[in-house]
Symmetry: C2
Subunit: 176 residues, 2 copies
Amino acid sequence: MPAPARKAAHRSVARSARARPLRKSPQARKSVERTVDLGGLNEHLGYFIRRVQVWVFQDFIRVLRIVDISPAQYSVLLVIDANPGLSQAELARTLGIERARMVRVLHRLDRRGLTRRLRSSADGRAHSLRLTQKGQETLRRAATLAQTHEARLIERLGAEPYKAMRTILREFRSMP
Amino acid sequence: MPAPARKAAHRSVARSARARPLRKSPQARKSVERTVDLGGLNEHLGYFIRRVQVWVFQDFIRVLRIVDISPAQYSVLLVIDANPGLSQAELARTLGIERARMVRVLHRLDRRGLTRRLRSSADGRAHSLRLTQKGQETLRRAATLAQTHEARLIERLGAEPYKAMRTILREFRSMP
DNA sequence: TATTGTTATACTCTATAACTATA
DNA sequence: TATAGTTATAGAGTATAACAATA
């Protein structure tokens, strides 16, 4: 359910300190550039959650570019793989993606030959979702790359903080 | 730098268990609806980070609807307030928002009379950003509401996990 | 009546390229 | 040559409403 990004762009905050003449103007404005104060933002966890989340998506997209699978597509493939035959509505509710949005996501995966939509035998309205052979192969390749991404996240957060966040957030997920 | 949402929509995963006849079809498909397996997604912290982040934005937007301030706008107001006179480029880099995107954000805040863009005396190219009187008042009201949101997040995560994540993520932020 | 898949509309956000005016 | 502000464009995501077929 993410917002893919094409390229790593955002960097901000900590810019690589580059040596420069550093003119002594009244406020020495230029030298301040690297130390902008976040102000009250420091008191909002949501801001920092957003920053990590953006980093995660950018890294994920970069690492999985070879297979051209976005975070949203990856989540869809994994859930179909784990629940063959489930419907679009079930899938959408599970991942928190709008039903209307899911239609396009699946259209695209179908066009690429990664998924199939069969008429459900139990419910005439519903589609029964499956991965194709190619879909399973692509998922396998994607999963390997996704592990690389995960390793980078662990390295970046530190093993202990990573485990701590895992415990905390998997709990959060199941809440009402 | 967020993606505002109009209304709380996403719910998914844990649906309020509703009593139902529960027909005993071969796979009892319907009863499965509430227990769709996330599969390999369980091994990706990024997925859970994304879910909390979405919750945070939705809650923030809902709580601050009275003042009509989005997460992105709020972050912009806070940073300008803490660094009066900074330029658009500095602001954009600090928050990880594209320079081009920042133009529109500030246009809108200017139109609402919350911010001002003055010509910088030090650099003829740059704008010197300030909050107006109205901007400061709006920020004050927004900050009060944002504290309400923060309290909800703490309640939702638990005080200890909240503090733990705060420590972890504020560290993450300053990394290269 | 409610749900499923679908189409359509409006808006936000990201990424990119290009232009101008300054430095 | 590089940077600041700007405009424009393409694509993805979100929120909503509405519709036909089916339950």
